[in-house]
């Protein structure tokens, strides 16, 4: 939407209303993380800023377009809106984006089938000309998260949007993540030059190996190679699909003595958040006694040359395929990541290889479920794939089920379900399992974390949820589950699953890099989200507010500076509760109650065009009213002044005439005697 007035200040203030479902709340925070990773857009809890986004649960998922500077601007996430891409979509609206197919040049790229649209809904296919909407010099984007799907507002079964390039027919309407062009537009609109949480990505395609340096004090070097005779035969970035490209780094254990080592140190990083996730692919073609160790070299005032801290050892056994590894870091100072290869005491014909490194200030997934040869494996298991048994950080045992619907002849979609199973800690855990959010991500294996469009769904365990048999759904698996046996003979119970049969469609599964080299990676996390069950703290003025400070609240928007007038004192700090005086004191029209001299008063909403006044903000005044008042006052004053002038002139004239008459009738005597 064209107009700087529609932009939000960064960070965008938000408020999660109590009405929101817990799963939706958690997903909003997850969506914010995607914004922080891929753009400069940041969000912060509302601290009393004039304008903020209030996320609440109404019927449906909707938003306004752009910052309307209306104080509390609502964004609804109703039932079935708790999908991450839906939330990203609605926030893109709020940030100033229309739907992709409403851009001015869309008829060059798609054909709207007007006769297939529900009667009376044709206006939903409007376009905006380039005085109202800008495509920001970005090409038409079939892959936009803001594009309608081909079935939008259809009155039958035929598509309402036909793409002029047929290959994009099933591409439009994706709800996975931002597309590259979505991000380009977002970053252009908000003048982004860097992201908040991204640190580095490296595919080792170039000779500078991303600024990495070979360590000193070791016995060998890492090699920059295209392949290794005993594996890997190709890199992970391109999987050998591009001739003469596809480099990776290799530490050979085929030569040298036991204990020989080589360091590969990353460039310097300057963290902001204090926690990071390091992710990379590795290939172990060496001996099982060979080691790949991760260290951090951290630079502090006390140790300006850096201190080495051991983080972890990659625990994967030798295998003839690329494996995925995550390392959680907690670094607050300038640092480097150090990869250390160590030769073990066994006979090796290969070594360790690494590729597709990503470092970001985000949380790592808790578990990785690597499904090799996904298509063959799912066919072998009759379409139901169960993950290995896993534990949440607080001890709940669980599995994830991927269910393939349909058969090999008919295109099939994937479903995904989260299930609790009996585990070692069941006697000490709380039952039914309460407010644990299970996040299940089918990873898009694009080498650059910012360009991934991973497919994420999450569910949250509701302790009150009951089955038709009046049993608690999330109760102990040995109470509500089915007895089963693991392949190793261990008996266990598996509870019912909650998830979706519409996790990802067949076509989307086979798009992008979801099945790179035939393998799928499911990233799993189970988090306690009980903290989201309580209200978000609301802003409260401090004691300093008892003195009036007329004011202006200046907010920074990339590219522009906006000054929003606030009537009365400015709100400066956040405290957890609304003051008691305000409990029964209602301010109308989105006014905020504050306390002054121990009395509640309302601070009314103000925009540049209109504002509310009155004890409870009950009366609306617009800037037009003031113009009318000013003009009418001026006219009145002018008329009164004119009248006074005319009367004065008339009186003076009359007086002067009277004097003249008197002089003519009785001439002055002194002049006569002078002669």
């Amino acid at each position: 939407i064209i107009g700087e007035q529609y932009r939000w200040p960064i960070p965008v203030p938000y408020f999660l209303e109590d009405s929101l479902e817990i799963n939706a709340k958690a997903l909003v925070l997850e969506a914010f993380e995607r914004y922080r990773l891929k753009s400069c857009i940041d969000f912060k809890p509302w601290e009393g800023e004039t304008n903020y986004i209030s996320v609440f649960k109404d019927s449906g998922c909707y938003s306004y377009v752009g910052n309307l500077r209306r104080g509390k601007q609502q964004l609804s996430l109703g039932t079935n809106c708790d999908r991450i891409a839906t939330i990203q979509h609605e926030f893109l609206h709020a940030l100033g984006f229309w739907h992709e197919q409403s851009r001015a040049d869309r008829d060059d790229y798609v054909i709207i089938m007007w006769d297939r649209i529900l009667s009376g809904r044709e206006h939903n296919f409007n376009t905006y000309d380039d005085t109202r909407s800008s495509a920001l010099n970005v090409p038409y984007d079939y892959t936009s998260v803001m594009h309608y799907s081909k079935t939008a507002f259809q009155n039958g079964s035929e598509p309402t949007i036909v793409t002029r390039i047929p290959a994009f027919s099933d591409v439009i309407g994706q709800r996975m993540d931002f597309s590259d062009y979505d991000l380009e537009k977002l970053n252009r609109l908000y003048n982004c030059s860097s992201s908040l949480t991204f640190l580095d990505t490296c595919t080792f395609e170039y000779n500078n190996i991303c600024g990495m340096v070979q360590g000193t004090g070791d016995n060998a070097d890492w090699q920059h190679v295209l392949n290794i005779p005993n594996g890997p035969s190709s890199d992970h970035s391109n999987m050998g699909n591009c001739k003469d490209s596809g480099y990776f780094m290799h530490f050979s254990t085929a030569t040298g003595n036991t204990g020989h080592k080589a360091f590969l140190e990353s460039r310097l990083f300057y963290p902001k958040r204090g926690f990071q996730c390091l992710e990379f692919f590795y290939y172990n073609s060496g001996h099982e006694t060979d080691q790949l160790n991760i260290w951090i070299r951290e630079y502090t005032d006390a140790y300006p040359n850096g201190t080495l801290t051991f983080i972890s050892t990659v625990d994967g056994h030798p295998a003839d395929y690329w494996q995925l590894y995550h390392v959680s870091l907690n670094v607050s100072n300038k640092f480097r990541v150090v990869f250390e290869g160590v030769k073990g005491n066994g006979i090796s014909t290969g070594g360790f290889s690494i590729d597709d490194i990503n470092l970001s200030e985000t949380r790592c997934p808790h578990h990785v479920w690597h499904i090799r040869n996904f298509t063959e494996e799912s066919a072998k298991q009759n379409g139901s794939l169960y993950s290995p048994p896993l534990y949440s950080k607080d001890g709940y045992a669980f599995q994830v089920l991927i269910r393939v619907t349909g058969d090999a002849e008919k295109p099939y979609d994937l479903g995904i379900y989260f299930l609790l199973i009996s585990g070692a800690n069941d006697d000490t855990l709380q039952w039914p399992c309460s407010l644990r959010q299970a996040t299940m991500v089918l990873m898009d294996q694009n080498p650059d974390i910012r360009k991934r469009m991973s497919n994420l769904r999450s569910i949250t365990t509701d302790p009150e949820y009951k089955t038709s048999n009046d049993l608690y759904f999330w109760d102990r698996p040995d109470r509500v589950g089915t007895p089963l046996t693991f392949p190793n003979g261990t008996q266990y119970f598996r509870g019912p699953g909650l998830g979706t049969s519409a996790y990802i469609t067949h076509d989307r599964l086979h798009s992008r890099d979801f099945l790179k080299g035939g393998d799928a990676f499911i990233l799993l996390s189970v988090d306690d989200v009980t903290y989201l069950n309580s209200s978000q703290p609301t802003p409260k003025p401090t004691a300093a507010l008892t003195t009036q400070s007329s004011g202006s609240n200046t907010t920074r928007v990339p590219g522009i500076t906006t000054t929003a007038l606030i009537s009365g004192p400015s709100i400066t700090t956040v405290e957890p509760n609304v003051p008691n005086h305000c409990k029964d004191y209602e301010c109308k029209n989105d006014g905020v109650c504050t306390v002054e001299d121990e009395k509640p008063i309302c601070r009314c909403k103000v925009t540049s065009d209109w504002w509310y006044v009155g004890e409870r903000c009950e009366k609306r005044v617009s800037s037009q009213d003031t113009v009318i008042i000013a003009v009418s006052s001026s006219v009145t004053i002018f008329v009164v002044m004119l009248a006074i002038t005319l009367v004065s002139v008339y009186c003076l004239k009359k007086k002067h005439k009277k004097q003249l008459t008197r002089v003519v009738e009785n001439p002055p005597l002194e002049k006569t005697s002078a002669f």
Partner: protein, 43 residues
């Protein structure tokens, strides 16, 4: 006491619900856009 096997629950009811499907029946512009006032729409 053995309990009958509980079925998995599909939160989407077997449908692939897009935003417009969720909002069906709601009077929202372009399916999920809210307008402040009529004047805003006219502009």
């Amino acid at each position: 006491v053995p309990v009958p096997e509980l079925k998995d629950v599909d939160v989407d009811g077997g449908k692939n619900l897009d935003i417009l499907d969720v909002n069906e029946g709601l009077d929202l512009f372009e399916g999920d856009i809210k307008f402040n006032e009529v004047s805003e729409l006219n502009s």
